[in-house]
Amino acid sequence: MSFLSPLFLVAAVAAGVPILLHLLKRHTEQRVRFAAVALLKGAPVEHTARRRLRELLLLALRAGALVLLALAFARPFFRAASATSAHLTVVAVDTSLSMSAPASAARAHQLGADAVRQAPAGDDVAVVAFADRADVIVRPTPDRNAAASAIETATPGFGSTTYAAGLAAAGELFGGRSGRIVVVTDLQASGWDMGAHAAVPEAVRVDVKDVGAPVENVAVTALRADGDRVAASIHNSGEHVRDVRTRLTVDGRAAGENVVTVGAHGSADAVFADVRSAGIAVATVDDPGGISGDNARYALLGADATAASLVITASGDLDRDAWYVRHAIAGLRGVAAADVAGMRDDALGRYGAVIVLSTRGLERRGREKLAAYANAGGGLLIAAGPDVDGDVVADVLGSGAPLEMKAVTGDAERVAPQNSLSLAPADVRHPIFRSFGSEVASLGFVQFRNVARVGGPSCQAIARFTSGDAAVLDCAAGDGRAIVVASDLNNRWNDFPIRASFVPFLDQAARYLSNSARRGSEYLVGEVPKGLPVVPGVTTVEASGGSRRVVVNVDPKESEFDRMSPADFQASITRLKDVAAKDVRADAAGQESRQHLWQYLLAAMLVALVAEGLVAGRMA
């Protein structure tokens, strides 16, 4: 038996207290050496032998209760037998969409089974399947046949590759033991998010078994509407130019057929004209030799019309308060912060995004309307400028997304140019920065003199200042999203508005937020809300405002076969010395939490106390 908190066992010495008291107080009654004891024997007295037996029983119950209490606090558990084995081999099988090519799947099964068979004698083996998330399908076991059989069942799905999830799940299985992780994958480069690292125990070696990339594959990577025109992006990851026949249906009825020529490792759009403006659109391509899961893409027509954005300023006069923003984005409306409260309840919902440049005068009712807008799926762009109060913003984003916002630099005049900050995207794959392409570095020309410190548990920093502080946050706010820029957008704290990157940044941010407003109608497989099927297609979501149809697509990055070398793969793995110790504790905590022995010990202690009460009552 092991203990999660063995120090509590020291408290077991408290069991000596009743023993000590018993020894000290066992003759609390006066003791008289008497001559006529025989005359007492018929009286209703308790004979010593019986009383001593009860005293010992009481003593045992009291001491036992204390020992049980100490044991319960020490949180005992029986260590699993497999955890005592010295070495472990974990086979982590990539089951992402890119592995679903027939040749890849068979190769993966073969390599996985080989890894199990080749595990050193005496090693336990385990199997992990991973895509967007990881599942342990065989926990550490000496049964290699079971592991090999489980690998056969690890069939690829529609998820995207996330190496970090697979390695994390595999690493947790070691529990302080040494061994190796065999990753069976196609080495898709997109499996590592930018900056993502996986930590595995120092004593664990990681081996990569490359199944190779599918040679030929054609995929529909995007489907978008522009008026009555619908464009489907076709990507060819093969080595040859291909003529790809693309079909479009809307609500099950054919809406067009097109043949596009796509170059090797290239993309092309299949454009369909005169398409009805509403309905479920599905674009499909014929690709019998490639991955079947990315041959279709779904879109909800009519839900993506980009609505105008609303700008909240101090006065509502955009020329005065938001001149740069007004000229960067067409079709903006302006409203004073104080007037938000007076807007009709459904007025905010008509806007694709709301840009908050000032919270002065934003009353409680106005905050509530903004919060309701965000909760309903609206998108907020918040510039942490001098007119924005962090507490008000936190109030708008709600308790689920507390936001810290505090100015950290001094006046603009007092900041020397050499002390100004620049920003750099932390995730160039974020939709806001994706369109910058190779020009994303132009964001680094922006000089920030004043910035606010922003952060929150449900926010992700998608850009950082050169100081390391977050520059742009992407926050979840109810069903909506909020982009928080840690400086102003009116050329007061920075020169961003006069830089070339300002307009595309604002445009992409507004589009992203507008899309997030309709993001409730389109999900990637790995992002579907709980309860929805994780397969591409059309489904219905029950929401507070009623049910709505949504489409689910595979992640287009799964159709990009940019590969990485095993060395690059290894370079993304961090080995931390304390990981082993943490794993040991995590493993122990996991076993303890599954067994819950402390509950039984506490119950036994209560039983002992009840028994003690009964015995003591009889003695009294």
Partner: protein, 300 residues
Amino acid sequence: MAAGARDRQFLDPAVVARLGTLELKARTVVEGLISGLHRSPFKGFSVEFAEYRQYIHGDDLSTIDWKVYARSDRHFIKKFEEETNLHCQLIVDVSGSMSYGSRGISKFEYAACLAASLGYLMNRQRDAVGMTAFSDHIVDALPSSTRPGHLRNLLIALDRLHVGSRTDVAKPLHQIADAMTRRGMVVLISDLLDDPGAVIRGLKHFQYRGSDVLVFHVLDPDEIEFPFDRATRFEDLETGDELVAVPGAVRDHYLKQMGGLIDRYRRELGAAGIDYQLLNTSEPLEMALLAYLSTRSRTA
């Protein structure tokens, strides 16, 4: 008699117990008693000439002094004083139960003091006195005698006694009774915490052998009154048995048992013609001596 005795300002037994030697204790008790009495009315027979008395019908003819008859032509008989006129055996219980004492003197110490005082008194009256000590068997015995140094031997023997273990009153009584060769007086000093029937049968054995019996039933005040008031673990002095009792709950039962024991001794011994005297160790020893003297007067 008890009230009268208390009026005489006798010595507290606890005070007597603190006196040096047993002889001193005995002398203090007896002299104190004697000084408070009139001259002893007890005259015995002696081999020494005491007086002449005119013959009356029924006198033994051998006691007629024929020389006086020759001179005076009248019949006189000659009375003599004997060396001793009583053989008394003091039987002292030295069992473990006799070691109990709550008021500065144990029952054993009280009994030893009493035996010494009786011995001193008897020796002073020129009675022959002996001593036998017993627990569950006879542990010491000193034959009765009136020799000059006998009292000292008696006191030394008493002084050397120690409390023994278990009690078996009846068995030593029968042994002593069987061993007695002459009639006399037997004085038993014991707490009598034994089977009353067996004890009484043993005492009757002495009567059967023609001796007078005087029983001093020595009890401690605690044994008579049972004054304990808080939970008490009682350990038997002889067996070591323990039992825990709340005195309030067992007092009535105990007092009833003890009262029944005393009543039985008093009733059955009285019926058998055996003098029975209950002695509380908190009461003066002189009370016992007076009881003896009372019995002795009847014997004479």
